[in-house]
Amino acid sequence: MLAWNEMRRAKVRFGLLCGAVGLLVFLILFQQALLGGLVTDFIGAVDNQDAPVLVFNDQARSNVEGSFLFPDQAAAIAGVDGVASTGFIGEGTYTVETGGEIRDAVMFGYELGGLGAPSSLVEGRLPAAPGEAVSSAADRDNGFGIGDVVQIVGDGGPTIVIVGLADDLRWSVAPTMFASYDTFEAAQRAVNPQSSVVFPSLVGVQPVDGVDIGELTDRINSEVDGVEALSRQEAVDGNPGVQGVSQSFGIILGLAFLVVTLVIGFFFMILTVHKARALTLLRAVGASSRYLVKNLLVQILMVLAIGSFLGVVMTVALLRLGPSGEVSAKLDPSSVAATLLGLVVLALIGGLAAVRRVLRIDPMSATSGAGQ
Protein backbone atom coordinates (compact mmCIF):
# COMPACT_ATOMS: atom_id res chain seq x y z
CA MET A 1 0.00 0.00 0.00
CA LEU A 2 2.73 2.44 1.02
CA ALA A 3 4.72 1.95 -2.19
CA TRP A 4 1.75 2.26 -4.53
CA ASN A 5 0.19 5.22 -2.70
CA GLU A 6 3.42 7.17 -2.87
CA MET A 7 3.75 6.47 -6.59
CA ARG A 8 0.23 7.55 -7.45
CA ARG A 9 0.60 10.75 -5.40
CA ALA A 10 3.86 11.63 -7.19
CA LYS A 11 2.84 10.76 -10.74
CA VAL A 12 5.13 13.26 -12.46
CA ARG A 13 8.22 12.22 -10.50
CA PHE A 14 7.68 8.49 -10.97
CA GLY A 15 6.33 8.98 -14.49
CA LEU A 16 9.56 10.70 -15.52
CA LEU A 17 11.61 7.90 -13.97
CA CYS A 18 9.53 5.21 -15.70
CA GLY A 19 9.93 7.12 -18.97
CA ALA A 20 13.68 7.36 -18.52
CA VAL A 21 13.95 3.65 -17.69
CA GLY A 22 11.67 2.90 -20.65
CA LEU A 23 13.97 4.80 -23.02
CA LEU A 24 17.01 3.00 -21.67
CA VAL A 25 15.29 -0.39 -22.01
CA PHE A 26 14.32 0.60 -25.56
CA LEU A 27 17.94 1.55 -26.28
CA ILE A 28 19.19 -1.79 -24.97
CA LEU A 29 16.54 -3.92 -26.70
CA PHE A 30 16.85 -2.10 -30.01
CA GLN A 31 20.61 -2.49 -29.99
CA GLN A 32 20.21 -6.15 -29.13
CA ALA A 33 17.74 -6.52 -31.99
CA LEU A 34 20.20 -4.77 -34.28
CA LEU A 35 23.02 -7.00 -33.04
CA GLY A 36 20.86 -10.11 -33.44
CA GLY A 37 19.93 -9.12 -36.99
CA LEU A 38 23.49 -8.18 -37.88
CA VAL A 39 24.94 -11.41 -36.49
CA THR A 40 22.31 -13.47 -38.29
CA ASP A 41 23.06 -11.59 -41.51
CA PHE A 42 26.75 -12.32 -41.01
CA ILE A 43 26.57 -16.04 -40.28
CA GLY A 44 23.05 -17.20 -41.16
CA ALA A 45 24.26 -19.33 -44.07
CA VAL A 46 26.56 -21.45 -41.87
CA ASP A 47 24.10 -21.54 -38.98
CA ASN A 48 21.26 -22.70 -41.24
CA GLN A 49 22.97 -25.41 -43.30
CA ASP A 50 22.68 -29.05 -42.30
CA ALA A 51 26.30 -30.23 -41.85
CA PRO A 52 26.85 -30.64 -38.07
CA VAL A 53 30.65 -30.44 -38.44
CA LEU A 54 32.59 -28.13 -40.74
CA VAL A 55 36.26 -28.62 -41.48
CA PHE A 56 38.36 -25.53 -42.30
CA ASN A 57 41.94 -25.05 -43.41
CA ASP A 58 43.75 -24.42 -40.11
CA GLN A 59 45.37 -21.28 -41.54
CA ALA A 60 41.94 -19.74 -42.18
CA ARG A 61 41.20 -19.14 -38.47
CA SER A 62 37.49 -19.95 -38.85
CA ASN A 63 37.19 -17.59 -41.80
CA VAL A 64 35.20 -19.28 -44.59
CA GLU A 65 36.50 -16.84 -47.21
CA GLY A 66 40.11 -17.70 -46.34
CA SER A 67 39.67 -21.47 -46.28
CA PHE A 68 40.36 -24.10 -48.92
CA LEU A 69 41.05 -27.79 -48.58
CA PHE A 70 43.14 -30.11 -50.80
CA PRO A 71 41.69 -33.36 -52.13
CA ASP A 72 44.02 -35.48 -49.97
CA GLN A 73 42.86 -33.64 -46.85
CA ALA A 74 39.22 -34.22 -47.84
CA ALA A 75 39.95 -37.93 -48.34
CA ALA A 76 41.73 -38.15 -44.97
CA ILE A 77 38.75 -36.52 -43.23
CA ALA A 78 36.40 -39.06 -44.79
CA GLY A 79 38.61 -41.85 -43.41
CA VAL A 80 38.54 -40.72 -39.78
CA ASP A 81 36.80 -43.17 -37.45
CA GLY A 82 33.32 -41.87 -36.54
CA VAL A 83 32.71 -40.03 -39.83
CA ALA A 84 29.55 -41.25 -41.54
CA SER A 85 29.74 -39.07 -44.64
CA THR A 86 31.41 -35.96 -46.00
CA GLY A 87 30.61 -33.39 -48.66
CA PHE A 88 32.38 -30.52 -50.39
CA ILE A 89 31.15 -27.03 -49.60
CA GLY A 90 32.34 -24.07 -51.64
CA GLU A 91 31.81 -20.39 -50.97
CA GLY A 92 32.46 -17.31 -53.05
CA THR A 93 31.33 -13.70 -53.44
CA TYR A 94 30.37 -12.67 -56.95
CA THR A 95 29.13 -9.76 -58.95
CA VAL A 96 25.75 -10.77 -60.33
CA GLU A 97 23.10 -9.30 -62.56
CA THR A 98 19.52 -9.73 -61.47
CA GLY A 99 16.34 -7.74 -61.97
CA GLY A 100 18.25 -5.51 -64.36
CA GLU A 101 20.72 -4.46 -61.68
CA ILE A 102 24.30 -5.30 -60.86
CA ARG A 103 24.75 -6.50 -57.27
CA ASP A 104 27.11 -8.41 -55.04
CA ALA A 105 25.94 -11.83 -53.90
CA VAL A 106 27.37 -14.84 -52.07
CA MET A 107 27.00 -18.37 -53.34
CA PHE A 108 27.47 -21.56 -51.35
CA GLY A 109 27.88 -24.70 -53.43
CA TYR A 110 27.16 -28.15 -51.98
CA GLU A 111 26.78 -31.62 -53.37
CA LEU A 112 23.06 -31.98 -54.06
CA GLY A 113 21.50 -34.57 -51.80
CA GLY A 114 24.57 -34.37 -49.53
CA LEU A 115 25.77 -32.19 -46.66
CA GLY A 116 25.57 -28.39 -46.65
CA ALA A 117 21.96 -27.94 -47.81
CA PRO A 118 19.96 -25.02 -46.31
CA SER A 119 17.84 -26.15 -43.37
CA SER A 120 15.45 -23.20 -43.04
CA LEU A 121 13.49 -23.46 -46.29
CA VAL A 122 10.26 -21.45 -46.08
CA GLU A 123 9.08 -21.43 -49.69
CA GLY A 124 9.73 -23.41 -52.90
CA ARG A 125 12.17 -26.31 -52.94
CA LEU A 126 15.84 -27.19 -52.69
CA PRO A 127 17.87 -27.13 -55.92
CA ALA A 128 17.60 -30.40 -57.85
CA ALA A 129 20.04 -29.66 -60.66
CA PRO A 130 22.92 -27.34 -61.58
CA GLY A 131 21.70 -23.83 -62.32
CA GLU A 132 19.12 -23.84 -59.53
CA ALA A 133 19.43 -22.21 -56.12
CA VAL A 134 17.73 -21.43 -52.85
CA SER A 135 18.24 -17.80 -51.83
CA SER A 136 17.94 -15.75 -48.66
CA ALA A 137 14.25 -14.88 -48.17
CA ALA A 138 15.16 -11.38 -46.95
CA ASP A 139 16.32 -10.58 -50.52
CA ARG A 140 13.25 -11.88 -52.35
CA ASP A 141 12.35 -8.34 -53.48
CA ASN A 142 15.86 -7.50 -54.60
CA GLY A 143 16.10 -9.90 -57.52
CA PHE A 144 16.39 -13.11 -55.51
CA GLY A 145 12.72 -14.18 -55.39
CA ILE A 146 11.45 -17.51 -56.69
CA GLY A 147 11.63 -17.54 -60.47
CA ASP A 148 14.20 -14.75 -60.66
CA VAL A 149 17.20 -15.39 -62.86
CA VAL A 150 20.59 -14.49 -61.48
CA GLN A 151 23.54 -14.19 -63.86
CA ILE A 152 27.08 -14.51 -62.49
CA VAL A 153 29.08 -11.76 -64.19
CA GLY A 154 32.23 -13.14 -65.80
CA ASP A 155 33.42 -15.09 -68.77
CA GLY A 156 30.95 -18.00 -69.04
CA GLY A 157 29.39 -17.29 -65.66
CA PRO A 158 26.48 -19.65 -64.92
CA THR A 159 22.87 -18.56 -64.98
CA ILE A 160 20.96 -19.48 -61.85
CA VAL A 161 17.21 -19.73 -61.34
CA ILE A 162 15.89 -19.22 -57.81
CA VAL A 163 13.66 -22.19 -56.88
CA GLY A 164 13.36 -21.75 -53.11
CA LEU A 165 13.67 -19.27 -50.23
CA ALA A 166 15.12 -19.87 -46.79
CA ASP A 167 15.04 -17.72 -43.66
CA ASP A 168 18.20 -16.26 -42.13
CA LEU A 169 20.40 -17.44 -44.96
CA ARG A 170 22.53 -14.36 -45.58
CA TRP A 171 26.29 -14.44 -45.36
CA SER A 172 28.37 -11.33 -44.61
CA VAL A 173 25.21 -9.19 -44.86
CA ALA A 174 24.85 -9.97 -48.57
CA PRO A 175 22.17 -11.78 -50.61
CA THR A 176 23.10 -15.47 -50.49
CA MET A 177 22.32 -18.45 -52.72
CA PHE A 178 22.78 -22.17 -52.11
CA ALA A 179 23.38 -24.01 -55.39
CA SER A 180 24.95 -27.25 -56.54
CA TYR A 181 28.70 -27.69 -56.13
CA ASP A 182 28.98 -27.83 -59.95
CA THR A 183 27.37 -24.39 -60.19
CA PHE A 184 29.86 -23.08 -57.61
CA GLU A 185 32.77 -24.50 -59.62
CA ALA A 186 31.41 -22.90 -62.79
CA ALA A 187 31.12 -19.54 -61.05
CA GLN A 188 34.68 -19.80 -59.71
CA ARG A 189 36.03 -20.58 -63.15
CA ALA A 190 34.08 -17.65 -64.64
CA VAL A 191 35.63 -15.16 -62.25
CA ASN A 192 39.07 -16.80 -62.33
CA PRO A 193 39.57 -18.29 -65.80
CA GLN A 194 43.30 -18.95 -65.15
CA SER A 195 42.67 -21.43 -62.36
CA SER A 196 42.82 -25.04 -63.40
CA VAL A 197 41.42 -26.55 -60.20
CA VAL A 198 38.66 -25.37 -57.86
CA PHE A 199 39.17 -26.41 -54.26
CA PRO A 200 36.30 -26.69 -51.77
CA SER A 201 36.25 -24.04 -49.05
CA LEU A 202 35.07 -26.48 -46.39
CA VAL A 203 34.27 -30.12 -45.95
CA GLY A 204 30.96 -30.87 -44.27
CA VAL A 205 30.94 -33.92 -41.98
CA GLN A 206 28.09 -36.07 -40.70
CA PRO A 207 29.12 -38.11 -37.62
CA VAL A 208 28.13 -41.76 -37.21
CA ASP A 209 25.03 -42.03 -34.98
CA GLY A 210 25.99 -41.85 -31.30
CA VAL A 211 29.39 -40.27 -31.91
CA ASP A 212 29.95 -37.12 -29.87
CA ILE A 213 30.61 -34.08 -32.06
CA GLY A 214 33.29 -32.68 -29.73
CA GLU A 215 35.18 -35.98 -29.70
CA LEU A 216 34.92 -36.26 -33.48
CA THR A 217 36.28 -32.76 -34.14
CA ASP A 218 39.18 -33.51 -31.76
CA ARG A 219 39.87 -36.74 -33.62
CA ILE A 220 39.80 -35.04 -37.06
CA ASN A 221 42.12 -32.28 -35.83
CA SER A 222 44.61 -34.75 -34.43
CA GLU A 223 44.56 -37.19 -37.36
CA VAL A 224 44.43 -34.85 -40.38
CA ASP A 225 47.21 -32.35 -40.98
CA GLY A 226 46.43 -28.69 -41.70
CA VAL A 227 42.72 -28.70 -40.84
CA GLU A 228 40.52 -27.32 -38.11
CA ALA A 229 37.22 -29.16 -37.52
CA LEU A 230 34.51 -27.19 -35.76
CA SER A 231 30.96 -27.88 -34.74
CA ARG A 232 28.41 -25.72 -36.53
CA GLN A 233 28.03 -23.52 -33.43
CA GLU A 234 31.80 -23.14 -33.04
CA ALA A 235 32.04 -22.09 -36.68
CA VAL A 236 29.33 -19.48 -36.09
CA ASP A 237 30.84 -18.15 -32.85
CA GLY A 238 34.37 -18.12 -34.27
CA ASN A 239 33.48 -16.05 -37.31
CA PRO A 240 35.80 -13.00 -37.20
CA GLY A 241 33.03 -10.59 -38.28
CA VAL A 242 30.67 -11.81 -35.57
CA GLN A 243 33.33 -11.52 -32.89
CA GLY A 244 34.12 -7.89 -33.85
CA VAL A 245 30.48 -6.83 -34.03
CA SER A 246 29.62 -8.59 -30.78
CA GLN A 247 32.51 -6.96 -28.94
CA SER A 248 31.57 -3.45 -30.14
CA PHE A 249 27.92 -3.89 -29.28
CA GLY A 250 28.88 -5.55 -26.00
CA ILE A 251 30.66 -2.38 -24.86
CA ILE A 252 27.71 -0.17 -25.81
CA LEU A 253 25.21 -2.50 -24.16
CA GLY A 254 27.36 -2.77 -21.05
CA LEU A 255 27.37 1.02 -20.72
CA ALA A 256 23.58 1.14 -21.15
CA PHE A 257 23.15 -1.47 -18.39
CA LEU A 258 25.45 0.59 -16.17
CA VAL A 259 23.41 3.74 -16.85
CA VAL A 260 20.16 1.96 -15.90
CA THR A 261 21.73 0.83 -12.63
CA LEU A 262 22.99 4.32 -11.82
CA VAL A 263 19.76 6.11 -12.80
CA ILE A 264 17.66 3.84 -10.56
CA GLY A 265 20.24 3.97 -7.78
CA PHE A 266 20.50 7.79 -7.78
CA PHE A 267 16.75 8.31 -8.05
CA PHE A 268 15.83 6.09 -5.14
CA MET A 269 18.69 7.41 -3.03
CA ILE A 270 17.46 10.99 -3.56
CA LEU A 271 13.87 9.91 -2.92
CA THR A 272 14.84 8.11 0.29
CA VAL A 273 16.70 11.14 1.63
CA HIS A 274 13.78 13.36 0.59
CA LYS A 275 11.25 11.32 2.60
CA ALA A 276 13.58 10.47 5.51
CA ARG A 277 11.28 12.22 8.03
CA ALA A 278 8.29 10.11 7.01
CA LEU A 279 10.35 6.92 7.13
CA THR A 280 11.68 7.86 10.57
CA LEU A 281 8.12 8.43 11.80
CA LEU A 282 7.06 5.03 10.50
CA ARG A 283 10.05 3.35 12.18
CA ALA A 284 9.13 5.11 15.43
CA VAL A 285 5.54 3.91 15.38
CA GLY A 286 6.50 0.30 14.76
CA ALA A 287 7.41 -0.22 11.11
CA SER A 288 10.21 -2.76 10.80
CA SER A 289 13.21 -2.07 8.56
CA ARG A 290 12.06 -5.09 6.58
CA TYR A 291 8.66 -3.49 5.90
CA LEU A 292 10.24 -0.26 4.65
CA VAL A 293 12.87 -2.08 2.55
CA LYS A 294 10.14 -4.29 1.07
CA ASN A 295 8.20 -1.19 0.00
CA LEU A 296 11.33 0.33 -1.50
CA LEU A 297 12.06 -2.83 -3.48
CA VAL A 298 8.43 -3.03 -4.62
CA GLN A 299 8.75 0.53 -5.95
CA ILE A 300 11.98 -0.33 -7.77
CA LEU A 301 10.36 -3.39 -9.35
CA MET A 302 7.23 -1.42 -10.30
CA VAL A 303 9.31 1.30 -11.94
CA LEU A 304 11.29 -1.35 -13.78
CA ALA A 305 8.16 -3.24 -14.83
CA ILE A 306 6.51 -0.10 -16.23
CA GLY A 307 9.78 1.08 -17.82
CA SER A 308 10.38 -2.35 -19.35
CA PHE A 309 6.84 -2.46 -20.72
CA LEU A 310 7.34 0.95 -22.33
CA GLY A 311 10.75 -0.10 -23.68
CA VAL A 312 9.42 -3.34 -25.18
CA VAL A 313 6.43 -1.56 -26.75
CA MET A 314 8.70 1.11 -28.28
CA THR A 315 11.12 -1.52 -29.61
CA VAL A 316 8.43 -3.73 -31.11
CA ALA A 317 6.68 -0.69 -32.63
CA LEU A 318 9.87 0.57 -34.23
CA LEU A 319 10.80 -2.86 -35.56
CA ARG A 320 7.33 -3.32 -37.07
CA LEU A 321 6.65 0.17 -38.32
CA GLY A 322 10.14 1.49 -38.95
CA PRO A 323 11.85 1.49 -42.35
CA SER A 324 13.42 -1.85 -43.32
CA GLY A 325 17.01 -1.31 -44.32
CA GLU A 326 19.82 -3.46 -45.64
CA VAL A 327 20.43 -4.82 -42.14
CA SER A 328 17.56 -6.62 -40.48
CA ALA A 329 16.88 -6.25 -36.75
CA LYS A 330 15.90 -9.39 -34.89
CA LEU A 331 14.34 -9.45 -31.42
CA ASP A 332 14.82 -12.81 -29.75
CA PRO A 333 12.24 -13.42 -26.97
CA SER A 334 14.68 -15.44 -24.87
CA SER A 335 17.33 -12.70 -24.98
CA VAL A 336 14.64 -10.09 -24.17
CA ALA A 337 13.68 -12.15 -21.12
CA ALA A 338 17.33 -12.53 -20.11
CA THR A 339 17.87 -8.77 -20.55
CA LEU A 340 14.88 -7.86 -18.42
CA LEU A 341 15.95 -10.35 -15.75
CA GLY A 342 19.43 -8.81 -15.82
CA LEU A 343 17.90 -5.34 -15.45
CA VAL A 344 15.91 -6.50 -12.41
CA VAL A 345 19.12 -7.69 -10.75
CA LEU A 346 21.00 -4.50 -11.68
CA ALA A 347 18.13 -2.26 -10.54
CA LEU A 348 18.06 -4.01 -7.19
CA ILE A 349 21.82 -3.55 -6.93
CA GLY A 350 21.31 0.11 -7.87
CA GLY A 351 18.80 0.42 -5.03
CA LEU A 352 21.22 -0.97 -2.43
CA ALA A 353 22.43 2.48 -1.38
CA ALA A 354 18.84 3.52 -0.68
CA VAL A 355 18.24 0.26 1.20
CA ARG A 356 21.33 0.97 3.31
CA ARG A 357 20.00 4.46 4.03
CA VAL A 358 16.66 3.00 5.17
CA LEU A 359 18.41 0.48 7.42
CA ARG A 360 20.35 3.29 9.11
CA ILE A 361 17.23 5.22 10.14
CA ASP A 362 17.15 5.85 13.89
CA PRO A 363 13.50 5.84 15.07
CA MET A 364 14.51 7.99 18.05
CA SER A 365 14.99 10.89 15.61
CA ALA A 366 11.19 11.16 15.40
CA THR A 367 11.13 12.74 18.85
CA SER A 368 13.30 15.62 17.69
CA GLY A 369 11.70 15.93 14.26
CA ALA A 370 15.11 15.40 12.70
CA GLY A 371 15.07 12.23 10.64
CA GLN A 372 17.50 13.61 8.13
Binding site: N5, R9, S288
Partner: protein, 226 residues
Amino acid sequence: MSALQLSDVRKVYRSGDQDIAALDHATLDVGDDEIVALVGPSGSGKTTLLSIAGGLLRPTSGSVVVAGHDISGYEDKKLTAFRGSEVGFVFQSVNLVPFLTARENLLVVAEMTGKPKGPARSRADQLLEELGLGGRSRNLPDQLSGGERQRVAIGRALMNEPGLALFDEPTSALDTEMGEQVMTLIRTEVKERGVAAVVVTHDTRMTHFADRKVEITDGRLAASGG
Protein backbone atom coordinates in the same frame (compact mmCIF):
# COMPACT_ATOMS: atom_id res chain seq x y z
CA MET B 1 -2.14 -4.02 36.72
CA SER B 2 -0.20 -0.88 35.86
CA ALA B 3 -0.02 0.24 32.27
CA LEU B 4 3.49 1.59 32.84
CA GLN B 5 6.00 0.99 35.60
CA LEU B 6 9.36 2.74 35.56
CA SER B 7 11.59 1.58 38.41
CA ASP B 8 14.79 3.43 39.23
CA VAL B 9 15.41 4.20 35.58
CA ARG B 10 18.60 6.01 34.58
CA LYS B 11 19.67 7.21 31.18
CA VAL B 12 23.22 8.40 31.04
CA TYR B 13 25.00 9.92 28.05
CA ARG B 14 28.76 10.09 27.78
CA SER B 15 30.12 13.47 26.75
CA GLY B 16 33.90 13.51 26.57
CA ASP B 17 35.02 12.13 29.94
CA GLN B 18 31.82 13.23 31.68
CA ASP B 19 28.61 11.28 32.31
CA ILE B 20 25.42 13.30 31.88
CA ALA B 21 22.23 11.86 33.38
CA ALA B 22 19.24 12.73 31.20
CA LEU B 23 17.06 10.66 33.51
CA ASP B 24 18.13 10.07 37.09
CA HIS B 25 16.63 7.24 39.16
CA ALA B 26 13.14 7.86 37.78
CA THR B 27 10.30 5.82 39.23
CA LEU B 28 6.79 6.21 37.89
CA ASP B 29 3.65 4.11 37.97
CA VAL B 30 0.79 4.83 35.57
CA GLY B 31 -2.42 2.92 36.18
CA ASP B 32 -4.79 1.58 33.52
CA ASP B 33 -6.86 4.39 31.98
CA GLU B 34 -4.92 6.97 34.00
CA ILE B 35 -3.75 10.19 32.32
CA VAL B 36 -0.49 11.58 33.64
CA ALA B 37 0.79 15.00 32.65
CA LEU B 38 4.57 15.16 32.66
CA VAL B 39 5.60 18.76 33.15
CA GLY B 40 9.01 20.31 33.16
CA PRO B 41 11.23 22.88 31.57
CA SER B 42 13.04 22.36 28.32
CA GLY B 43 15.89 19.86 28.66
CA SER B 44 14.55 18.39 31.88
CA GLY B 45 14.30 14.84 30.47
CA LYS B 46 10.59 14.72 29.52
CA THR B 47 11.14 13.38 26.02
CA THR B 48 13.83 10.97 27.23
CA LEU B 49 11.37 9.47 29.71
CA LEU B 50 8.68 9.25 27.06
CA SER B 51 11.09 7.60 24.61
CA ILE B 52 12.17 5.02 27.18
CA ALA B 53 8.54 4.29 28.11
CA GLY B 54 7.70 3.83 24.41
CA GLY B 55 10.64 1.59 23.55
CA LEU B 56 12.40 4.15 21.36
CA LEU B 57 15.32 4.33 23.76
CA ARG B 58 16.88 1.80 26.15
CA PRO B 59 17.58 2.81 29.74
CA THR B 60 21.12 2.65 31.06
CA SER B 61 19.75 0.96 34.17
CA GLY B 62 16.44 0.28 35.89
CA SER B 63 13.40 -1.54 34.60
CA VAL B 64 10.60 -0.52 32.27
CA VAL B 65 7.43 -2.61 32.40
CA VAL B 66 4.62 -1.90 29.96
CA ALA B 67 1.39 -3.89 30.25
CA GLY B 68 3.24 -6.54 32.22
CA HIS B 69 6.19 -6.84 29.77
CA ASP B 70 9.63 -5.82 30.95
CA ILE B 71 11.03 -4.17 27.81
CA SER B 72 14.31 -3.02 29.36
CA GLY B 73 16.26 -5.87 27.78
CA TYR B 74 14.40 -6.07 24.45
CA GLU B 75 16.54 -6.12 21.32
CA ASP B 76 15.80 -3.80 18.36
CA LYS B 77 13.43 -6.13 16.48
CA LYS B 78 11.39 -6.87 19.60
CA LEU B 79 11.22 -3.19 20.49
CA THR B 80 9.96 -2.36 16.98
CA ALA B 81 7.19 -4.95 17.26
CA PHE B 82 6.40 -3.68 20.77
CA ARG B 83 6.06 -0.08 19.52
CA GLY B 84 3.72 -1.20 16.75
CA SER B 85 1.35 -3.14 18.98
CA GLU B 86 1.55 -1.96 22.58
CA VAL B 87 2.01 1.82 22.48
CA GLY B 88 0.65 4.74 20.51
CA PHE B 89 2.73 7.84 19.85
CA VAL B 90 1.95 11.43 19.06
CA PHE B 91 5.14 13.37 18.45
CA GLN B 92 5.79 17.06 18.73
CA SER B 93 6.55 17.87 15.11
CA VAL B 94 6.54 15.08 12.51
CA ASN B 95 3.39 13.06 12.87
CA LEU B 96 1.97 12.18 9.50
CA VAL B 97 3.28 10.63 6.30
CA PRO B 98 2.85 13.44 3.74
CA PHE B 99 1.96 11.23 0.77
CA LEU B 100 -0.80 9.33 2.62
CA THR B 101 -4.33 10.60 3.24
CA ALA B 102 -5.69 10.96 6.76
CA ARG B 103 -7.34 7.53 6.49
CA GLU B 104 -4.22 5.91 4.99
CA ASN B 105 -2.09 7.37 7.80
CA LEU B 106 -4.19 5.29 10.18
CA LEU B 107 -4.33 2.22 7.96
CA VAL B 108 -0.58 2.07 7.42
CA VAL B 109 -0.10 1.37 11.13
CA ALA B 110 -2.37 -1.64 10.87
CA GLU B 111 -0.72 -2.79 7.64
CA MET B 112 2.83 -2.68 8.93
CA THR B 113 1.91 -4.72 11.98
CA GLY B 114 0.05 -7.28 9.88
CA LYS B 115 -3.48 -6.53 11.10
CA PRO B 116 -6.36 -7.78 8.90
CA LYS B 117 -7.56 -5.16 6.40
CA GLY B 118 -11.34 -5.30 6.91
CA PRO B 119 -11.45 -4.59 10.65
CA ALA B 120 -8.64 -2.04 10.24
CA ARG B 121 -10.71 -0.06 7.72
CA SER B 122 -13.74 -0.07 10.01
CA ARG B 123 -11.65 1.05 12.97
CA ALA B 124 -9.94 3.82 10.99
CA ASP B 125 -13.30 5.14 9.78
CA GLN B 126 -14.75 4.97 13.29
CA LEU B 127 -11.77 6.80 14.82
CA LEU B 128 -11.82 9.53 12.17
CA GLU B 129 -15.54 9.96 12.69
CA GLU B 130 -15.09 10.28 16.46
CA LEU B 131 -12.30 12.79 15.96
CA GLY B 132 -14.55 14.91 13.75
CA LEU B 133 -12.61 14.07 10.60
CA GLY B 134 -15.17 11.90 8.80
CA GLY B 135 -15.32 14.36 5.91
CA ARG B 136 -11.56 14.84 5.74
CA SER B 137 -10.44 11.22 5.55
CA ARG B 138 -9.36 11.49 1.91
CA ASN B 139 -7.35 14.66 2.44
CA LEU B 140 -3.57 14.68 2.44
CA PRO B 141 -1.83 16.21 5.49
CA ASP B 142 -0.98 19.43 3.65
CA GLN B 143 -4.71 19.92 2.99
CA LEU B 144 -5.49 19.81 6.73
CA SER B 145 -5.18 22.49 9.41
CA GLY B 146 -2.72 22.10 12.32
CA GLY B 147 -5.51 20.97 14.65
CA GLU B 148 -6.84 18.48 12.12
CA ARG B 149 -3.36 17.04 11.58
CA GLN B 150 -2.94 16.59 15.31
CA ARG B 151 -6.33 14.86 15.51
CA VAL B 152 -5.29 12.48 12.74
CA ALA B 153 -2.11 11.76 14.74
CA ILE B 154 -4.24 10.95 17.79
CA GLY B 155 -6.27 8.55 15.67
CA ARG B 156 -3.06 6.97 14.38
CA ALA B 157 -1.79 6.56 17.95
CA LEU B 158 -4.98 4.73 18.95
CA MET B 159 -5.32 2.72 15.76
CA ASN B 160 -3.72 -0.50 17.02
CA GLU B 161 -5.61 -0.43 20.32
CA PRO B 162 -2.55 0.17 22.51
CA GLY B 163 -2.62 -0.05 26.30
CA LEU B 164 -0.46 3.04 26.60
CA ALA B 165 -0.53 6.27 24.58
CA LEU B 166 2.36 8.71 24.71
CA PHE B 167 1.89 12.34 23.70
CA ASP B 168 4.92 14.61 23.31
CA GLU B 169 3.84 18.27 23.45
CA PRO B 170 0.64 17.58 21.46
CA THR B 171 -0.53 21.20 21.71
CA SER B 172 2.73 23.07 21.28
CA ALA B 173 1.99 24.12 17.69
CA LEU B 174 -1.64 25.06 18.40
CA ASP B 175 -3.33 28.17 19.82
CA THR B 176 -4.99 27.92 23.23
CA GLU B 177 -8.49 27.20 21.94
CA MET B 178 -7.31 24.56 19.50
CA GLY B 179 -4.98 23.14 22.16
CA GLU B 180 -7.88 22.73 24.57
CA GLN B 181 -9.98 21.06 21.91
CA VAL B 182 -7.19 18.58 21.19
CA MET B 183 -6.65 17.88 24.90
CA THR B 184 -10.39 17.35 25.36
CA LEU B 185 -10.33 14.86 22.50
CA ILE B 186 -7.31 13.06 23.94
CA ARG B 187 -9.03 12.76 27.29
CA THR B 188 -12.30 11.58 25.77
CA GLU B 189 -10.68 9.03 23.47
CA VAL B 190 -8.30 7.48 25.99
CA LYS B 191 -10.89 7.37 28.78
CA GLU B 192 -13.51 5.80 26.49
CA ARG B 193 -11.04 3.10 25.52
CA GLY B 194 -9.50 2.54 28.94
CA VAL B 195 -6.08 3.51 27.62
CA ALA B 196 -3.40 4.92 29.92
CA ALA B 197 -1.66 8.07 28.71
CA VAL B 198 1.39 10.13 29.46
CA VAL B 199 1.19 13.64 28.10
CA VAL B 200 4.38 15.64 28.02
CA THR B 201 3.74 19.37 28.14
CA HIS B 202 5.38 22.55 29.27
CA ASP B 203 2.01 24.35 29.09
CA THR B 204 0.54 24.34 32.61
CA ARG B 205 -2.84 25.43 31.19
CA MET B 206 -3.24 21.94 29.77
CA THR B 207 -2.42 19.91 32.86
CA HIS B 208 -5.97 19.99 34.26
CA PHE B 209 -6.99 17.55 31.55
CA ALA B 210 -4.79 14.93 33.29
CA ASP B 211 -5.66 12.87 36.34
CA ARG B 212 -2.27 13.53 37.81
CA LYS B 213 0.65 15.84 37.22
CA VAL B 214 4.26 14.75 37.56
CA GLU B 215 7.06 17.28 37.43
CA ILE B 216 10.51 16.56 36.13
CA THR B 217 13.59 18.68 36.68
CA ASP B 218 17.14 17.76 35.66
CA GLY B 219 16.02 14.19 34.97
CA ARG B 220 14.48 13.70 38.41
CA LEU B 221 10.75 13.13 38.96
CA ALA B 222 8.70 14.77 41.65
CA ALA B 223 4.98 13.97 42.02
CA SER B 224 2.83 17.07 42.46
CA GLY B 225 -0.73 15.78 42.65
CA GLY B 226 -3.70 16.12 40.31
